[in-house]
C-alpha cells in the first residue's frame, strides 16, 4: 500500500504537558485506521497537528511526499486533507443544502463568483444533491441545520468533511453523544463510504466496539506517544495497552 501521510518526530507541548512527543507515524492509503487512547493521550492534538488547527513545536508532517508542516488549514484542504470535529461544527443558521453548498462551491472553484445566484450554479447543485443522498439527508435539505436532531447533525458534519473530496479524512469521535440506533447508522455510513470513496479514513473513537469492528489498523496513543500500532487482533493481545486501560478490564473482557 502506498504511503499517504508521514510524520517525523512531531512534537507539541502545552507547558510541560506533552501532547505529542516525537511521534513518527505512517498512514497508508486505503487502510481504515483508528486512533484510540485514554483521555488526554493526545488524540485530538494529533489530528489538530496533522490538519493544521495547531502548529507543531518541531518535527515534520509530510503528505504525499510534500512537507506541509507550516501550511495553513485551507491549503492543506486543497491538497486533500479534511476533518470533522468532536464538538459540532456546522453552520446552524443555514439550511442543510446551504451547508453543503459552501464546500462544494469551494471545491469547484466557484466561491469567488459575485453575481450569479447560488441556485443557478446547476452543476454545483447536482453534486450537492448527490452528497445529500450519500449522508441520507435529502428529505431534510431545507431545514436550518441547527434544528436537526443530534444524529442528523453528526451526519451533516461528516458530509461537510467529505465534501472537499479529501484523500485523507479524519473523523474526531464521529459518534460522540449519539444513541445506539444513530451510532449504528453512522457506522454503516462510514463503512460504506470508506469502501465507495477514494478517501482514506482515520477515526478517533472512544467506543471500543466500534473501533474493533470497523478498523483495519489501530494506533494506541498514551501521553503523547505511540504505545502500540497494529491490526485489531494484535492490539487486543498487547500487554502495554491493557495496562494503560487498567481499571477498564471489564470492558476489555467484553471484547
Amino acid at each position: 500500500m502506498a504511503e499517504l501521510l508521514r510524520t517525523e518526530k512531531l512534537r507539541k507541548y502545552f507547558g510541560v504537558v506533552s501532547a505529542a512527543d516525537d511521534i513518527d507515524l505512517h498512514i497508508e492509503e486505503g487502510i481504515l485506521t483508528s486512533v484510540i487512547g485514554p483521555n488526554g493521550a493526545g488524540k485530538t492534538t494529533l489530528i489538530n497537528l496533522l490538519t493544521g488547527n495547531i502548529l507543531a513545536d518541531s518535527g515534520k508532517v509530510i503528505f504525499c511526499d510534500e512537507d506541509i508542516t507550516h501550511l495553513p488549514i485551507h491549503k492543506r484542504v486543497r491538497k486533500g486533507i479534511c476533518r470533522s470535529f468532536q464538538i459540532m461544527n456546522i453552520f446552524p443558521k443555514l439550511t442543510v443544502l446551504e451547508n453543503l453548498q459552501i464546500p462544494i462551491l469551494s471545491l469547484m472553484n466557484r466561491s469567488l463568483r459575485f453575481i450569479k445566484p447560488v441556485d443557478r450554479h446547476t452543476d454545483v447543485n447536482d453534486r450537492v444533491e448527490r452528497l445529500l443522498e450519500e449522508v441520507a439527508l435529502t428529505d431534510k435539505r431545507d431545514f436550518p441545520a441547527g434544528t436537526l436532531s443530534h444524529g442528523d447533525q453528526r451526519l451533516l458534519e461528516i458530509g461537510l468533511a467529505m465534501a472537499p473530496e479529501p484523500r485523507l479524512l479524519f473523523l474526531d469521535e464521529p459518534t460522540a453523544g449519539m444513541n445506539p440506533v444513530e451510532r449504528v447508522k453512522i457506522l454503516e455510513n462510514i463503512r460504506r463510504l470508506s469502501r465507495e470513496r477514494q478517501s482514506t479514513f482515520v477515526i478517533v473513537e472512544h467506543d471500543m466496539d466500534i473501533v474493533f469492528s470497523l478498523s483495519d489498523r489501530i494506533i494506541v496513543l498514551h501521553r503523547g506517544q505511540i504505545l502500540a500500532d497494529g491490526k485489531p487482533e494484535e492490539i487486543k493481545q498487547n500487554e502495554d495497552v491493557r495496562k494503560v486501560y487498567l481499571g477498564e478490564e471489564l470492558f476489555w473482557e467484553k471484547i
Partner: protein
C-alpha cells in the same frame, strides 16, 4: 412572492414620481436617506453577513467625500467625482482592512475604530489638502457628463435626486446579487463557523478582507454623493459618532435581512426630522428611542413586520 414584487414596484414608482409632488426639502431628505442606505447596506455586508462589527466606516465614508470633493473642485464632472470617491473608499479599506481582518470580535471593532479616528485626525490636521477644521468649501454640483454624448445639469434638486436614486438602485441591486451569490453564501458560512469554512479549503482572511473592501467601496460611494449636495465637507464626517449611524440604522432595521439597513435609514431620518424641531439635544432623545425600538422589535423592524405582523393579516 408576487405581492413582494408588487410592493417593490410600487416603491420604485413612488421614488420615481417623488420630485413631481415633493418640495425641495423632502427631496433633500430623500437624498440623505438614499446615501445612508447605501452606506449602511455596505456596512451590513460586514456585520450581518460576515459577522464583523466595524466602528470605523465613517473613515471610508469621509475618504469618499473628500476624494469626490477634491476632484469636483478641479474637474467639474459628477461621474468622475463619484468614481473617485468610491475608489478612495475601496482602496483605503483594502489597505487598513489588511491590518484589521487578522482579528475578529472586539479586537476587530477596536482596530477599525482607531483607524477610523486616524482618518479623522488626518482630515483635521492636514490643512493643505483637507482644509483642516474649515473643511473644503464651494464644491460645485457639477453636471453629469458623458463627453460627446450627453450633459445633464444638476443644479435643480430634482435632477440630483434622480442621479442619486439611479446610483443607489444600481448599488443596492448589485449588493443583493452579491449576498445571494456563492461569495455571499461563503461569507455567511464564515459568520457562522469560520473553522468549518477553512476546512472547505477557503482562506478566511482573504474573504474577510474582500468583504471589508466591498463595504469600504460602498462607504466611499455613499460619501462621494454628499459633497455635491451640501457643497462642503468637514472633518466631523470622519468622526466615530458618524460611524455609529450605520450601526444604529442596521440594528434598527435588522441585521439578518437584506432590506433592514434601508428600512432603518428611513426610520432614522423620519425620527430625527421630527425631534430636531423640538430640541437641539436630539441625539439623546434619538438614542433613547432607538434603544426602545431595538428592545421591542427583536431582530429589527423588518423581521418584526414580516414574521409577526404580516401573519396576522394573512390569517384575518
Amino acid at each position: 412572492m408576487r405581492l413582494k414584487t408588487f410592493l417593490l414596484g410600487t416603491l420604485i414608482l413612488f421614488l420615481l414620481l417623488l420630485p413631481t409632488f415633493a418640495g425641495k426639502y423632502a427631496l433633500y431628505m430623500a437624498i440623505h436617506i438614499l446615501i445612508l442606505s447605501v452606506f449602511a447596506l455596505g456596512f451590513n455586508l460586514l456585520l450581518g453577513y460576515t459577522g464583523l462589527l466595524s466602528f470605523g466606516q465613517a473613515g471610508f465614508f469621509a475618504m469618499g467625500a473628500y476624494a469626490s470633493a477634491k476632484i469636483l473642485l478641479v474637474l467639474p464632472s459628477l461621474l468622475v467625482g463619484v468614481v473617485a470617491g468610491m475608489v478612495a473608499g475601496g482602496i483605503s479599506a483594502l489597505i487598513l482592512g489588511f491590518l484589521c481582518v487578522r482579528h475578529t470580535r472586539i479586537y476587530f471593532s477596536m482596530l477599525t475604530l482607531s483607524f477610523g479616528m486616524m482618518i479623522y485626525s488626518i482630515a483635521w490636521k492636514w490643512r493643505d489638502v483637507t482644509g483642516g477644521d474649515d473643511g473644503l468649501v464651494g464644491i460645485p454640483r457639477a453636471p453629469f457628463e458623458i463627453p460627446g454624448i450627453l450633459t445633464i445639469n444638476m443644479n435643480a434638486m430634482g435632477n440630483y435626486y434622480y442621479f442619486v436614486l439611479a446610483i443607489s438602485l444600481i448599488a443596492i441591486l448589485l449588493l443583493y446579487r452579491i449576498v445571494n451569490s456563492p461569495f455571499g453564501l461563503t461569507l455567511k458560512g464564515i459568520r457562522d463557523s469560520e473553522n468549518r469554512v477553512a476546512f472547505a479549503g477557503i482562506s478566511i482572511r482573504n474573504y474577510r478582507l474582500l468583504s471589508f473592501t466591498i463595504a469600504g467601496l460602498y462607504a466611499g460611494l455613499a460619501g462621494s454623493l454628499l459633497p455635491p449636495l451640501e457643497n462642503t465637507v468637514t472633518p466631523p464626517l470622519a468622526h466615530w459618532t458618524q460611524s455609529a449611524e450605520p450601526v444604529m440604522v442596521t440594528l434598527l432595521g435588522g441585521i439578518h435581512t437584506f432590506s433592514g439597513p434601508i428600512v432603518g435609514s428611513v426610520v432614522f431620518y423620519l425620527i430625527k426630522d421630527i425631534i430636531v424641531r423640538y430640541t437641539q439635544y436630539w441625539l439623546i432623545w434619538f438614542g433613547s428611542i432607538v434603544v426602545f425600538l431595538v428592545l421591542i422589535f427583536r431582530g429589527g423592524l423588518v423581521i418584526f413586520f414580516s414574521e409577526r405582523v404580516w401573519p396576522l393579516f394573512k390569517r384575518a
